[in-house]
């Protein structure tokens, strides 16, 4: 039976009780302090043993987790003893996490985000998060690394980008998007970089926010150094609002990474999303089969 150590703050006990029963229902041996410290036993020693004997370390991160010296010590020990961390985010503390030496390694990892806010939380349901956790614990997780298209987007447009991602995959064009297909604990930077390096076509989603998105600029830069063909796609808002479109053009021109996008013909969801998707798919197939774009 796989053993996992759940590290949490008392403030989040309710969440952890539910998680524990869900994991146990799947045959996983969960170490938690309220049941695994025998009376009369040194609790510190019991925690050390709990961490050393477990296969995975599950930190339930929240501001009170980061504030607790005990929680941070557990995080430290799990790292030093080389226990893979599978971080959950209960309440937003991504920035806090980065400012403590015991937790900053978590900052580069994909969390399962239970905060209910932000693209990573909204792109997945609680059931999917639990399934993701279970698949990693049971060693059944499949790493998909067959993408040949890469979708870059400003975070506010995650729903539109997810839709395009799903439609491209459905058309047998294996695509990458940061919000899907990861496993909890993956290094997100490395995953993105490898995703771009594996790709043969790069698809930036453009809206005013794109020009000021740090990550998007870096993705475009990387794609450029790899000489990837780029197929920029406008959002419906950017393609139907003249003012927004002008701001987008201005923003692109101000960034050395993004400037080249303004000289490439864009696709736009007009007259309809379906017609745009159809041309996207046919251009992509053309590029992949080695034909020049017409």
């Amino acid at each position: 039976m796989v053993k996992v150590f759940v590290s949490y703050s008392r403030d989040d006990e309710e969440f952890v009780r539910k998680l524990k029963s869900q994991l146990e229902a799947q045959g996983i041996d969960v170490w938690v302090d309220w049941q695994d410290i025998p009376a009369g036993f040194s609790w510190r020693q019991a925690i050390y043993d709990g961490i050393l004997k477990s296969e995975f370390f599950i930190p339930c991160v929240s501001p009170s987790y980061i504030a607790s010296e005990m929680c941070r010590m557990e995080s430290y020990l799990a790292q030093a003893h080389n226990k893979p961390a599978l971080p959950l985010m209960l309440h937003d503390s991504y920035q806090l996490e980065a400012s403590y030496p015991e937790t900053k390694h978590l900052h580069d990892m994909y969390h399962l985000d239970f905060t209910g806010k932000g693209l990573y939380s909204l792109s997945m349901s609680d059931e999917q998060r639990l399934a993701n956790l279970l698949s990693v614990i049971k060693g059944e997780a499949e790493t998909r690394n067959d993408n040949i298209l890469y979708i870059a987007f400003p975070s506010a447009e995650y729903a539109y980008a997810n839709q395009i991602w799903a439609d491209l995959n459905a058309a047998n064009l294996p695509s990458y998007i940061s919000t899907m297909g990861y496993q909890v604990g993956d290094d997100w930077n490395k995953r993105h970089w490898q995703g771009v390096r594996r790709s043969r076509i790069f698809i930036p989603i453009l809206t005013v926010a794109a020009a000021s998105s740090f990550y998007m600029k870096k993705e475009v830069l990387l794609a450029r150094t790899l000489n990837l063909p780029m197929l920029p796609i406008l959002t419906l808002d950017a393609s139907s609002n003249e003012g927004h479109l002008n701001n987008l053009r201005k923003g692109l021109d101000e960034s050395f990474e993004m400037r080249l996008l303004s000289e490439i013909q864009w696709l736009q969801p007009l007259p309809s999303y379906e017609s745009m998707l159809e041309s996207l798919i046919s251009i992509a197939r053309n590029i992949l089969s080695g034909n020049e774009r017409s």
Binding site: L52, H81, N82, D108, W193, F214, K218, L222, T225
Partner: protein
């Protein structure tokens, strides 16, 4: 031998030109912008191609470097391509490294300390700094040995701890100590942990400053959780009373206050002999 891309800020050019000349004089192949971009060639593309043609990148970190968008771009591309990073620190710029996402994480990598001229507490001469740069650039990698005796020590006792480590090494006892065994460009914390995981015992070099160090307290805690033998040695000129007082204040250090200590004073040689004897017993799995 691998080719090295030199990434630097124009404002640090004097230092970099000098270093570059010495590296090339020692047979190293480098890519530098002032020589390797042809006139009339689009320079940004030339940088991309230069980076792609090199296996490693020498990153000359400084306040100027962190403030330059171009420099940060070079670091970003190298990391995204998975190039080997060789960081040099030219001045006190760690606060700026944290401000830029392209540079975040570099602070975790063991760098060559041209600014502080100290590596994990131990002072280095200019020549030692250059030799370290040259060897790293030539691809030096120090793998972990077996049966390690891991050294934990406060920075103020770095020279003394290094001397003991070298003397044990001469006596064919494997040691791991931060001042000697770190690999440049690797996550120093991960390297420490990997060495700690391989350790057969911890040698704790102690003085009155030891209990104040987070690192030492954590290393003691680690040894305790793995039930590894700990061999404490009191460094010369230690203020004994203050040390004991501070030990009593730390629950981690209390773990070792009941272990018999070795003392360097008055006789270093007899301490070393005693230590070798203890090391021998550890390796034979005998009780100390």
């Amino acid at each position: 031998m691998s080719k090295i891309y030199i990434s630097y800020s124009r404002k640090d050019e004097a230092f970099v030109r000098d270093l570059h000349a010495k590296l090339e004089a020692n047979g190293l192949e480098t890519w530098v912008d002032w020589r390797d971009i042809l006139a009339g060639y689009p320079w940004r593309e030339a940088l991309f191609e230069g980076l792609a043609s090199c296996d490693s990148i020498l990153i000359c970190l400084s306040r100027h470097y962190a403030e330059s968008e171009m420099c940060r771009m070079e670091t970003f591309i190298s990391r995204a391509y998975g190039k080997r990073l060789i960081p040099l620190v030219l001045d006190d710029c760690f606060d700026l490294l944290l401000e830029h996402d392209e540079l975040r994480g570099l602070i975790e990598l063991q760098a060559i300390p041209y600014a502080s001229k100290r590596i994990i507490g131990l002072e280095l001469s200019d020549d030692e700094l250059f030799q370290m740069t040259l060897e790293t650039a030539k691809g030096l990698y120090k793998p972990l040995r077996e049966n390690l005796f891991y050294f934990a020590y406060p920075a103020s006792a770095a020279a003394f701890a290094t001397k003991i480590a070298k003397d044990l090494q001469t006596a064919a006892i494997s040691t791991w100590i931060g001042t000697q065994d770190h690999n440049i460009g690797y996550d120093w914390q991960q390297e420490q942990w990997a060495a700690m995981m391989k350790a057969r015992a911890f040698i704790l070099v102690l003085n009155e400053k030891a209990a104040l160090s987070d690192h030492i307290r954590r290393q003691v805690l680690f040894a305790h959780t793995r039930k590894l033998p700990m061999l404490p040695i009191i460094a010369p000129e230690t203020d004994f009373a203050v040390m004991q007082e501070r030990f009593a204040d730390s629950w981690e250090m209390r773990l070792i206050s009941e272990i018999q200590w070795l003392q360097a004073e008055p006789n270093y040689e007899s301490m070393l002999e005693a230590l070798k004897g203890l090391a021998g017993r550890v390796l034979e799995n005998k009780k100390l």
